[in-house]
């Protein structure tokens, strides 16, 4: 069973969102990293880029597959986790901590997000 912290909100495409002051931090869930396997490549947006909810903001690649990353909320990117450029391992080992992907200043628009209980049920419904 993968970890689903109670204080975060989750998208159907397996991103998590944490509110920190007037910004949000975004990453992929423990379930997502398990499904992908070892991450070997990551493409993140530039600081200042803006996205609508559901837009692709980057690409993540493992030895198994390459996937788009989808913005769970709209807004402007204020920081990206540049430590991941040289080493993507934290996405696998610490997806909710050192493996965070981007920070955004939210525009207020967002995808339909789930709390931890709803996300756990959503994963259950997928047969895992």
């Amino acid at each position: 069973m993968s970890a689903i912290p109670a204080d975060l909100r989750y998208s159907k495409s397996d991103e998590w969102v944490r509110v920190e002051g007037d910004e949000v931090v975004i990453g992929i869930t423990d379930y997502a990293q398990e499904q992908l396997g070892d991450i070997v490549y990551l493409e993140l947006p530039r600081v200042g880029a803006t996205f609508a909810p559901g837009d692709s903001f980057g690409v993540i690649e493992s030895v198994k597959a390459s996937s788009d990353l989808y913005a769970p909320v709209g807004g402007e990117v204020t920081a990206v986790n540049s430590d991941l450029e040289s080493d993507q391992q934290p996405i696998n080992s610490d997806p909710y901590g050192a493996g965070w992907l981007i920070r955004m200043r939210p525009s207020g628009e967002e995808e339909e997000l789930m709390d931890a209980v709803a996300y756990a049920a959503y994963l259950e419904g997928r047969g895992h």
């Binding site: 499904q35 070892d38 070997v40 490549y41 030895v63 597959a65 080493d87 895992h128």
Partner: protein, 493 residues
């Protein structure tokens, strides 16, 4: 590591060479400065001819190929290539023809292209065919550019969205993106078909069209194909057929009659021209009369005197390839079609489908089916063996190497967890299939009883399990004596 094949750099010694040049008997003239290499060439390997020959021959003997064994790669149709095709492609009139030769001196080659256009059109139910594209992905690109040209020609420029099912080959969304369009993903339903409700929700006046593979990458025939095509057409969109799995329906169903407007044929899959490292490919395309003026050119036609000539269609999207496509592949595909005939092509698909279903039925008690349906030419199973702890599809695939088989496609399609996708093709005998099935069943037993055999596999290949993660994270892309020594040292520990 006794099977380690030294790199050419490691075999090199100063002063060795493969040819003796005669003494210079003319005044020496240096090359212009601009043509001289500036980098240090001192470490360029020096070897004798037999050393080089043996090095490459030894490496080639470690290859696993369709000519040495069973190669059940799903979604790829790794067919045996009959040697008759090679004979035909090497006929001097074809092999030595120059592409700039006048049409009057190339009538045989042009006739072959014309006839192949006609055959492919008949097999698929389309009005016109272009043999230009170099391979399947370029065929897709031709198709989507044709859709774009068609919509612009009708003065309907707001169409910017291409619908692609979540089961699609990765080239489909890549093609749509490369043509400048937005990709909209459509879900699959529980039977592996396009989810009609999701399709309806995503169709709009912005829809360029839909890209669909039928049978799809789950190896399943799209049961609602006629309805899907009707809905897309009602929304003003066009249907693109990805011909990757055409091997399943030759002589049985014609994409043009199923509602497709355009498709590509992978001559290197369905029509047995060399594939997988052998190449090159050929991604000929066919379409309806409405799209014919936009096809890439040149195409071949017959004039009133019966002579063959090249022409560019009136609203053509242009050329995709120099000269006439990969002509050698066209000769091979023509030979395949003519040597089998209509009845033979139908039999190809019937046996391909029979073989895949035989493998499916013989394995599904141990390897759960992704979707419980009769399959077409390939079957998708899951490497989730009951009672096996910590065994993944990757381990099963690696263990198959120890049994002398090339592993099937794994982890594709992406919508199936731990996917194992098996496509035997029509050329395999029951004896080969039984040996493969027995190996798969033995591996399932090992997965429960002695899982370490799977985790350590392969043990009988020239190299052991490769570290894919490290290779991707820390690639060594050119010879580096220190890096090579370090990697060998670590591998021997």
């Amino acid at each position: 590591m006794d099977t380690y094949e030294p790199h050419l750099y490691e075999l090199s010694a100063p002063g060795k060479h493969g040819a003796n040049l005669p003494v210079l008997d003319v005044p020496e003239t240096p090359l212009p400065e601009a043509l001289l290499r500036q980098d240090d060439m001192n470490d360029f390997p020096s070897l004798t001819e037999p050393e080089v020959i043996r090095h490459y021959t030894r490496i080639s003997q470690r290859n696993y190929a369709i000519d040495t064994g069973f190669y059940p790669l799903g979604s790829c149709t790794m067919k045996y290539n009959p040697r008759l095709h090679e004979e035909a492609a090497r006929l001097p009139g074809f092999a030595t023809a120059h592409p700039l030769q006048d049409a009057s001196l190339s009538q045989g080659a042009l006739q072959l292209m014309y006839e192949l256009q006609e055959y492919l059109g008949e097999i698929s139910g389309f009005d016109a065919v272009s043999l230009q594209p170099a391979a399947g992905a370029q065929g897709e690109f031709a198709g989507i550019l044709t859709f774009r040209a068609y919509h612009l020609d009708r003065n309907d420029p707001q169409r910017v969205e291409v619908l692609v099912p979540d089961a699609a080959h990765g080239t489909n969304p890549a093609t749509a993106a490369m043509a400048g369009f937005k990709v909209v993903e459509v879900k699959s339903d529980a039977r592996g078909n396009v989810d009609l409700d999701d399709l309806k929700a995503k169709l709009s006046p912005r829809t360029v069209g839909m890209m669909l593979t039928n049978p799809n990458t789950l190896g399943l025939f799209e049961e609602h194909i006629v309805e899907v095509a009707r809905l897309v057409h009602e929304a003003g969109g066009l249907m693109y057929g990805d011909g990757a799995n055409f091997n399943a329906i030759l002589g049985i169903a014609r994409p043009g009659e199923l509602g497709f407007d355009f498709m590509h044929y992978n001559l290197h899959k369905t029509f047995t021209t060399p594939h997988g490292g052998g190449g090159p490919g050929s991604g000929a395309v066919g379409c309806t009369a409405a799209l014919t003026p936009f096809l890439p050119g040149p195409r071949v036609r017959r004039d009133t005197s019966g002579a063959y000539e090249l022409f560019i269609p009136e609203k053509s999207i242009g050329r995709l390839k120099t000269f006439h496509g990969n002509f050698g592949m066209l000769v091979r595909a023509w030979t395949y079609i003519r040597s089998l005939g209509a009845a033979g092509l139908r039999e190809v698909s019937e046996i391909a489908v029979l073989n895949a279903n035989y493998a499916r039925v013989m394995l599904k008690d141990l390897y759960p089916q992704a979707i419980d349906r009769i399959c077409m030419h390939e079957t998708v199973l899951k490497g989730q063996i009951a009672g096996a702890q910590g065994v993944r599809t990757l381990d099963i695939a690696k263990r198959l190497i120890d049994y002398g088989f090339h592993p099937p496609t794994v982890y594709f399609p992406l919508i199936v967890p731990e996917a194992l996708m098996i496509e035997p093709t029509e050329t395999e005998s029951k004896r080969t299939l039984d040996a493969f099935i027995e190996a798969m069943r033995q591996i399932a037993r090992e997965a429960v009883e002695t899982p370490d055999l799977l985790h350590q596999a392969p043990t009988k290949a020239p190299v052991r399990r490769l570290d894919e993660v490290r290779a991707a994270r820390q690639p060594v892309l050119r010879y580096d004596a220190e890096a090579f020594a370090r990697i060998r040292e670590e591998a021997s520990q």
